[in-house]
């Protein structure tokens, strides 16, 4: 939160931060259909000359604007870059002049202002594996961790301290205590996770294919829902080697530790 204090401590835009922010803005905010070069409006609102306060700009930039295309940038930009871009937008907000025609881009400002994952190096491999988009089936397809992934299966962080010891084995095991067998009145039969059961309807994850399908049935469409150990987690973890699973465990352990900080 040091960057936040820095911003709040100032009363007018800091020229160094503004310069940095201009670069960040050009790559993250001016692009595509958003705010346009130098904040002259693309699809997103015009930012130049709006008179918006720095607090408002900070809030919208950091947290995003609900029910809009404006994302929160906290975690997507480094703290320094976030404060720099807020400073730059603040400078735009107070500037009522039109930018000169050739000001669309500061020349030669170089690549890469995005920061990736901001955790330590030794767990980034595990995170990359967890969310590896080059695998048809990856952990994140069915598990949420660190603000990403689809929470179909159990919360792996809730497994707590025993995680490290048990996870590699668990993903190879045959039985799962969560998975049921659903038999439908029309004869369909599939491995399922129960999500919700109300008087007249039942919601299940159908695990036949990955990604799982959240299916909603009227109660009379379901013939039975019973425990059945025939579903094997290893069918979906086969793509990961033991060494890779251990790296994933390191990542989860780091998330756990961060959570309890």
């Amino acid at each position: 939160m040091i960057w936040l204090l820095l911003v709040l401590a100032q009363s007018s835009p800091d020229p160094d931060l503004v310069a940095r922010g201009e670069v960040v803005f050009a790559q993250s905010c001016a692009t595509g259909y958003c705010h346009g070069s130098a904040g002259t409006a693309g699809r997103g609102p015009r930012l130049r000359g709006t008179g918006l306060s720095r607090d408002r700009i900070l809030e919208a930039t950091r947290d995003g604007i609900p029910r809009s295309a404006m994302p929160g940038w906290e975690g997507k930009l480094s703290g320094t870059d976030l404060s720099a871009v807020v400073e730059y937008v603040w400078s735009l907000a107070m500037d009522t002049r039109e930018p000169p025609a050739d000001e669309s881009m500061p020349p030669g400002t170089g690549p890469a202002v995005f920061v990736g994952f901001d955790g330590p190096e030794h767990v980034s491999r595990g995170r990359d594996l967890f969310f590896d988009a080059t695998r048809e089936v990856r952990c994140g397809t069915c598990h949420e961790a660190g603000g990403r992934g689809i929470p179909v299966g159990p919360d792996l962080l809730a497994l707590g301290d025993g995680l490290q010891a048990s996870l590699v084995g668990k993903t190879r095991s045959r039985r799962s205590s969560h998975v049921l067998r659903a038999r439908l009145a029309d004869g369909q039969d599939f491995a399922a996770l129960r999500v919700a059961q109300e008087e007249d309807r039942v919601q299940l994850y159908d695990l036949t294919t990955i990604p799982p399908v959240l299916r909603t049935f009227l109660s009379d469409e379901i013939q039975s829902l019973a425990e059945d150990g025939s579903w094997e987690h290893r069918t979906v973890s086969a793509e990961y080697g033991d060494d890779e699973l251990r790296a994933i465990v390191d990542y989860l352990a780091w998330l756990n530790a961060r959570k309890s900080e």
Partner: protein, 550 residues
């Protein structure tokens, strides 16, 4: 430069000669069953109760307000058996009595509070098949609803929005027992694909990556790891030929959009039309329009399936207009190039297209220096779809005369984040008033038969009918009918907000209805104030207007 473009076009077009049209499956009748009208995507109806003589008497009979104006109303309604299925922004679905406008049911999908990507919050329509209605969502799920009640039957995640920076705004297409959906993300660090789910259960059947992975043919057209983040979105809706049993889909631009230094190669299958086996997702052929695109010229728009006589021979053809402002015609059995012609006058990114479809005289953006490129990123034509009338044999579509200054930049891809590789600023074409036009073309040669002009881009689709009418709407809210033969305006109705969706026609109990979404908004509408400052104040809306003869 434009003169040279026309010269080259003329050279190509001297080749094939247009011929008469045989009976085909393209027209719709009482229903409007698919997103493009028919699987052939003609956006043409055989209904002719409303025609050049009677259109003057057309009056509004009902209107339907979705209650969500954010992002405009960009949908194409589906009509089956007297029931209309309409979507709005934020994934609202309505089943409506198509004769009275009364709501039968609604389904409001629960989206996260924050979508956080640029491909939102609009939705362009549903697919309806058998007992189900299908929709893709802003948070990247596909949902199936009970057609009678709107009850949710299944829901499946296509890929985590928070990871891929992609989602679904286009309408799905149902082919046999599968629902096929595209994905956005072409301007993000993302690898595009097309996915087929079982219509009854939602189970994944196949996924075709528009960028081949290691070991697959075409992978060599990507440099290093660039294939992982190379775009290739499939954000519009495809077509299907039941006789050839081929699924056609347009594939979008490679990412980074404006900078290609890290992805040297032709970057297959971006900016291509692909033909797939709909049962397996296997690639049957492809035709790449723009190898190694560095302008953000998607080829993602609709594929119009036409059977025409070319040089004395009946050919099964596919027509696809790209964002760079060129229409390509290929043989839809093989992908063989037939012809290409521009839909805009101001186009400087190439000097022309050669006799085999090759690009001549590429004019590419440069690093860290602004360069004038025409048309603009908004496209020589926007995604709003054209219409084909077998009665005139003409293809009706739009063009936008505008340019932009593009500055390419080196960018590190970060998974799921914007990956434009540069910035742009809209500019006028030198010496030309920026404007839009709606035109009638010979689909094979691009010969223009008439042109209807607006001071603003046309961002609504065209609808052609057997009444020899072409319906469309403009940015200022006017919904109008043109004489399909002359382009003369025969009728108009001010709907109160600009047009960004797709009009359709259908009939219930022998009465023909014309329905049009009205509601200004969208990414490109949001860019327009850079050239048309007054459009910043254009009123939003989201209302479907329906007209009929008294």
């Amino acid at each position: 430069m434009p003169g040279f473009v026309f010269l080259l076009s003329a050279l190509i077009l001297a080749g094939p000669a247009a011929g008469r049209v045989r009976a085909q499956d393209g027209p719709t009748g009482a229903d409007w069953p698919h997103y493009g009208g028919s699987y052939q995507f003609w956006r043409y109806s055989s209904l002719d109760q409303v025609n050049r003589k009677t259109v003057k008497k057309l009056v509004p009979v009902w209107a339907f307000q979705t209650g969500i104006v954010d992002g405009g109303l960009q949908a194409t309604p589906i009509v089956l058996d007297g029931v209309m299925y309409l979507t709005s922004s934020w994934n609202r679905v309505f089943a409506i009595d198509a004769a009275t406008g009364d709501e039968i049911w609604h389904y409001y999908y629960e989206n996260p509070r924050q979508i956080g990507i640029i491909y939102s919050p609009w939705n362009r329509g549903v697919a309806v098949s058998g007992p189900r209605v299908f929709m893709g969502t802003l948070d990247n799920y596909v949902v199936a609803l009970d057609r009678k009640t709107g009850r949710e039957l299944w829901k499946v995640n296509v890929e985590d929005l928070r990871q891929c920076g992609c989602n679904i705004t286009g309408a799905p297409l149902v082919v046999k027992d599968k629902v096929i959906v595209g994905v956005t993300g072409g301007d993000s660090a993302h690898r595009g694909y097309l996915t087929a789910f079982d219509a009854a259960t939602g189970r994944l059947v196949w996924r075709f990556y528009t960028i081949p992975g290691p070991g697959e043919k075409g992978h060599e057209t990507w440099e290093g790891d660039s294939w992982k983040y190379g775009g290739g979105a499939t954000w519009m809706t495809g077509s299907y030929d039941p006789h050839l049993d081929l699924l056609y889909w347009g594939v979008g631009n490679p990412a980074a959009d404006f900078y290609g230094g890290d992805r040297r190669g032709s970057n297959l299958y971006t900016d291509s039309v692909i033909a797939l086996d709909p049962d397996t997702g296997e690639l049957k052929w492809y035709h790449q329009q723009i190898p190694h695109d560095v302008w953000d010229w998607d080829s993602a728009y609709e594929c119009v399936l036409l059977d025409l006589r070319v040089n004395g021979r009946d050919r099964k053809l596919l027509l696809n207009t790209n964002k760079g402002g060129y229409t390509y015609v290929v043989d839809r059995t093989t992908g063989e190039f037939i012809s290409a012609w521009p839909v805009v006058d101001n186009l400087n990114w190439i000097e022309g297209v050669g006799p085999n479809g090759e690009l001549i005289g590429r004019n590419e953006p440069v690093l860290d220096k602004a360069k004038l490129i025409c048309p603009s990123i908004g496209g020589g034509r926007q995604w709003n779809q054209g219409a084909y009338s077998p009665r005139t044999g003409w293809y009706y579509t739009t063009g936008i005369e505008w340019c932009q200054e593009v500055t390419a930049r080196e960018e590190e891809p970060q998974e799921g984040m914007n990956f434009f590789g540069g910035v742009f600023k809209l500019k006028e074409a030198p010496g030309v008033d920026h404007h839009g036009h709606l035109d009638a073309y010979d689909p094979l040669t691009g010969k223009k038969h008439w042109s209807y002009r607006s001071p603003y881009p046309f961002l609504a689709s065209q609808l052609a009918t057997a009444g020899d009418l072409v319906f469309s709407g403009d940015a200022e809210g006017l919904f109008f009918a043109l004489d399909a033969l002359t382009g003369r305006k025969l009728w108009g109705f001010q709907t109160g907000s600009g047009h960004r969706g797709s009009a359709i026609t259908y009939s219930v109990a022998g009465r023909q209805y014309i329905a049009t979404p009205s509601g200004w908004g969208s990414a490109v509408a949001g860019l327009m104030p850079q050239l048309w400052p007054e459009t910043e104040d254009f009123r939003a809306g989201s209302t479907l207007f329906v007209f009929a003869l008294p």
